[in-house]
Structure formats: structure tokens, C-alpha cells
Amino acid sequence: MSPMNNPQDLNPSSLKSRFTTRFLRALTKINGQKPISSSSPREMFQRYRRIKVAADKSMAWSVRSRRTWSRAMLWKLRSRYSCRQASSSRRSSVRTSTIIKSRQAKTSHEKENKNTTTGQDEVGFVVQADKLRKLVPGGEAMDLCNLLGETAHYIKCLTTQVQVMRKIAHFYSL
């Protein structure tokens, strides 16, 4: 398999190319930040996490707030980052989780009201819709119709991410 990404994403403004450039930039930054030789599992885990965060962030940025899920993800990342800077990590995580939980409670309350007014044939989807909401970032605050659209876009972005990362990994391992 050719390591070159270019022949396949000739369109410079496609999602894939945008994500690729950002992600590579983030990766080089991460590589530059810390020495490579650390091999303790904790630090490796941190690096994994950082890479994952970088991937998410670069994906969200390449979508550029045109979608609800990207906005939610960016908001979450920013809040986490700022909270981490402001106070200790434990408190920040609690704060963000309480914020998210309060939003969830509100939207679930709204959802209950909405579900009682809508027809009976859609009751069975509520459980799965909740699961989907947890998976898709920012999904708690959306109704089913928008949620499905966001999920479609999110799936497309995730597949792009996976393809790019696989290619990069392959390229690196050669």
C-alpha cells in the first residue's frame, strides 16, 4: 500500500485532507513535547490519551463547528483544558461532569415530556436513542431527528479518522 496520502485526497478542502494536516501538526507537536524514551505504562497511557485528544480535537476543528457534535466536543475539550489549568484535575473533572449531568438531566426531562406527547410507536427507540446520545458527543441536547443526522456525519468523520490514522501508522512502521 502506498504510504502517500496525496493521490487519494486531491481535493484540498475535503474533510480528509483537512483532518490529515491538522492531525499531523498535532502529532509533531506531541512528539516534540516529550522525549520518546519514556516507557512506563502510565506515561504511555498519557500519551495515548493525548493522541486521542489530539485526534478528536483536530477532527472537530476540521469540521469547524458546522455540526452540533463538533461544537460539543470542542466545548468539552476547552472546558476541560481551562478547568485543568484553573484548579486541580479532580475538581475540574467533577465540575465538568456535573455540568454535563445537569444538562443531561434537563434534556432528559425535556425528552420525557416530548415522548409523552409523541405517538406510541416511537417509545421503543428511547432506550437506543439514549445510548446513541451518550456515544455521539453533544447528543444529549438533540431530538431524535437531528440526532440521526449528527450520527451520520459523525460516522463519516470517524471513518475518515480511522483511515488517516491507519495510513499514518503504516507509514510510520515502514
Binding site: A152, Q161, A169, Y172
Partner: protein, 436 residues
């Protein structure tokens, strides 16, 4: 019919001075005032039956009575065409009358069946006489409602139907004949229900777009269908009465819950389109049930998220340990990850593996396969100790499949059809997987 005419004349005489002036106004000014007339609060919707009749009778313009009277006298069968400036006006009145009639019918007024039927006949005839009356769009729905109702109404009306139909055939230049006009009405109902827009100058199409909704138009189509049968089967009184309660229920349902039902239907359609779009994205899209499709979507999203994680790990290890990199490292990393995932959720662990193009299989089978095919390909074999401490081998072998339902003992190796092809061969000793 004769008591009707008498009543009409009495009412007219009683209420003439107060209500003829706005009527004349209407006639002179045309549509805009007609709208005002329709919205005129002198029409009390909650009036009891007699007042309702009075109002209906009183609001008709005196000059149009002569035209309307003709179909009521079958032997006369005049050929006086309807006055054109009255068309719009009369049409509005018809709608007002129609709305009143609808309420009346819904309230179950059975007392003045003859008078009501006569009113309906008149309305029906007026509607048939109408030209391109596009003005009273709002009240057109009301008119349209009662149109099939009036056509199909009751024992008293069926024979009068025919009279009206015959009488109206002389009236309007747009007619193709009595039954033909009814047919045109029903056809246009059906056509309008499909399109639901007021584009063409079809004379009956203004019945359709008010209060939107295909449901209402479908009601029209259905009721018009039943109506057509009735009118064509001339003199069949039996067809009238059983269909009438059916029409009434349908009309009521369509009218009462309309905005909600339309919104509901729109919402459902949107959801259905999105589901279809998602079905194309998700690989295993053969499920027809919405719930199972949603499950599939959820699994696929989880799988993709795991893949992203795994890809990140791959990059990490390959970028990190480039100097010391060997397939072992990536495998160790994978093993760690799989073990971690297995703790929380077996399904996600499986999906993670499949995301990497790997699968689990019992060791015995793996060794059998490896010995059988070791000359062409050397499968990677990782031995790991699961929780129970059995010496079960876990074989991580690449396969070209996408996400499928995981099972520990099922082998999904397709060694002949492996997509990647590059499988390193390294047989490890039994290593215990450390769970962090």
C-alpha cells in the same frame, strides 16, 4: 323542499334590513370584503339549530336566491347561468354555510334534516357552479369538507342529489354533465390530495390546500370515493346512511387533530430519511426493523470509536518505539488494550480487535491451522492467561472482515482471503497479561 322555501322567505323578511347591506357591500367590492364577510362575527358558531338555519338563510344575497331556487324546483330546470360577480360571493357564503353545516352535522343535528339537506343541495350546486374562485382559500377547506358530506348525506337527500346534479348541469359552462361534474369533483379531490398545491386553475383545487395535510386530502379522496359511488348509483338510499357515519368520523379526525398529526407525520418522515441515510453508511444494513437498525448503528459507532483509539495506539507505538519497534510491541500494546477492554465489556473488546483486523480463536484450533498453513503464512499467536487462569490460547489473526458479532469460540479466520496479507510469524510463550 317547500317548507324550506317558506322558511327562507320568512327569515329573509325578518333579517333583511340588518344583513342585506353588508351583502350588497360584498357584491360590490368583491373578494376582500368577502373575506371580511367570512370573518364577520355575525356567524355565531355555537348557535343552536334554528338560529343556524336563520343565519344561513339570512346571509345569502337576495338577488342570488332566484338562481338558487331553480334547482329546487325540478320541473322548472332553468337555464339561467349564475351571475359571475356572484360567484365569489356565493362561494364564500357556501363555505360559511358549509362550515356551519359541518358543525351542525357534527353536533348531530337531525331535526331539520330536510332543511339542512336542502341547504346542502344549494351549497353543492353553488360549488359546482363556481368558476375559478381562488379567493376564499381559508374557508375552502370547510367547504370541501362538507362537500362529500352533503353529497352523501342521508336518505332524504339521495333523490334530491340527482335533481341537483341534473339541475346544475345546465348551470355552469364548466360542467361536463351532472355525473361528470361529480366525477370531476371526485377526481380533483384525488388529484389534489396527491399534489396539495393550488397551482392550476382547477376549480376544485382550492378545496385542498387549506389546513394542509395529506390526511385531510386523503379523507377527501376516501369520502369522495364513497360519495361517487352513491351519486352514481342513483336512488340508492341504502348506500347513504351506512357511509355517512364513516364520513363523519373521518372528517372529524382529520379536522380535529390536523396540525399535530401533520407535524407528527413530517417528523416521522424526516426520521425515516435519516435512518435510510444511516443505513447506507453502516455496513450491516440488512435489517428492516428500526429498533435493530438503531442497535446496529450504536454498535458501529462504538466500533469506530474503538478503532480510532486503536489507531492512535498504533501511531503511538510506531512513532514512539521506532527504534525498538517490533511486531511484539504492537502486539503487547494490543494485548493490553484488549485485556483492559475485556474487563469492562466483551463486545467492545471484540470490536477493538476486529477494528485492528484481528479476531479471537481457541488455541487448539489456532495451532492446528498454523501447522497446516505454516509454510505459506505464519499466523501470530499470542498466548494470554485470561481471568480464570486456563491455558486457553488466544490467537490474534488478521481477517478481512468488518464488525460482526463476537464469540470466543468462533473462528473467523480466512487465511486464504486475508486482505492485509502481511502477517508476521512469531510464536510467543505463555505470557500473563497484566491488567492495570
Amino acid at each position: 323542499m317547500q317548507p324550506c322555501s317558506r322558511e327562507m322567505q320568512a327569515m329573509n323578511s325578518l333579517l333583511n334590513p340588518t344583513q342585506q347591506i353588508p351583502l350588497q357591500d360584498l357584491q360590490s367590492n368583491g373578494n376582500s370584503n368577502a373575506h371580511q364577510q367570512i370573518q364577520n362575527p355575525q356567524f355565531d358558531p355555537t348557535s343552536p339549530h334554528d338560529d343556524f338555519l336563520e343565519q344561513m338563510l339570512s346571509t345569502l344575497p337576495s338577488c342570488s336566491w332566484s338562481d338558487l331556487k331553480s334547482p329546487w324546483d325540478p320541473p322548472k330546470s332553468d337555464e339561467t347561468g349564475p351571475p359571475n360577480p356572484d360567484n365569489n360571493v356565493g362561494f364564500h357564503y357556501d363555505e360559511i354555510l358549509a362550515s356551519k353545516l359541518r358543525q351542525h352535522q357534527i353536533n348531530g343535528g337531525g331535526g331539520s334534516s330536510s332543511a339542512a339537506a336542502a341547504m346542502k343541495m344549494m351549497m353543492q350546486q353553488q360549488m359546482m357552479l363556481e368558476g375559478r374562485a381562488t379567493a376564499a382559500a381559508g374557508a375552502g377547506g370547510g367547504g370541501g369538507f362538507t362537500m362529500p358530506l352533503s353529497l352523501g348525506s342521508g336518505a332524504a337527500g339521495s333523490h334530491q342529489n340527482d335533481n341537483i346534479v341534473d339541475g346544475s348541469s345546465f348551470k355552469s359552462p364548466n360542467h361536463q354533465g351532472g355525473d361528470g361534474s361529480v366525477q370531476a369533483l371526485c377526481n380533483s379531490f384525488g388529484a389534489g390530495s396527491l399534489h396539495g398545491t393550488n397551482q392550476s386553475s382547477n376549480q376544485f383545487q382550492h378545496f385542498h390546500h387549506p389546513q394542509g395535510g395529506n390526511m385531510q386530502a386523503q379523507n377527501f379522496g376516501v369520502t369522495a370515493g364513497t360519495v361517487m359511488n352513491q351519486s352514481q348509483a342513483s336512488g340508492s338510499t341504502t348506500g347513504g346512511t351506512p357511509a355517512q357515519p364513516k364520513q363523519r368520523v373521518r372528517a372529524r379526525r382529520g379536522q380535529a387533530t390536523d396540525p399535530h398529526s401533520i407535524a407528527e407525520r413530517l417528523r416521522r418522515e424526516r426520521i425515516a430519511e435519516r435512518m435510510k441515510a444511516l443505513q447506507e453508511l453502516v455496513p450491516n444494513a440488512n435489517k428492516t426493523d428500526k429498533a435493530s437498525m438503531l442497535d446496529e448503528i450504536i454498535d458501529y459507532v462504538k466500533f469506530l470509536q474503538l478503532q480510532v483509539k486503536g489507531g492512535g495506539d498504533c501511531i503511538q507505538t510506531s512513532a514512539n518505539g521506532k527504534q525498538t519497534s517490533s511486531p511484539n510491541d504492537s502486539l503487547t500494546v494490543t494485548e493490553h488494550q484488549v485485556a483492559k477492554l475485556m474487563e469492562e465489556d466483551m463486545g467492545s473488546a471484540m470490536q477493538y480487535l476486529q477494528g485492528k483486523g484481528l479476531c479471537l480463536m481457541p488455541i487448539s484450533l489456532a495451532t492446528a491451522i498454523s501447522t497446516a498453513t505454516c509454510h505459506s503464512r505464519n499466523p501470530m499467536i499470542n498466548n494470554a492467561n485470561p481471568n480464570n487462569g486456563n491455558s486457553n490460547h488466544l490467537l490474534l489473526q488478521s481477517s478481512g472482515e468488518g464488525p460482526s458479532s463476537p464469540s470466543m469460540s468462533v473462528l473467523t479466520v480466512q487465511s486464504a482471503t486475508v486482505g492485509n496479507g502481511a502477517i508476521d510469524g512469531s510464536v510467543k510463550d505463555a505470557t500473563s497479561v497484566s491488567k492495570p
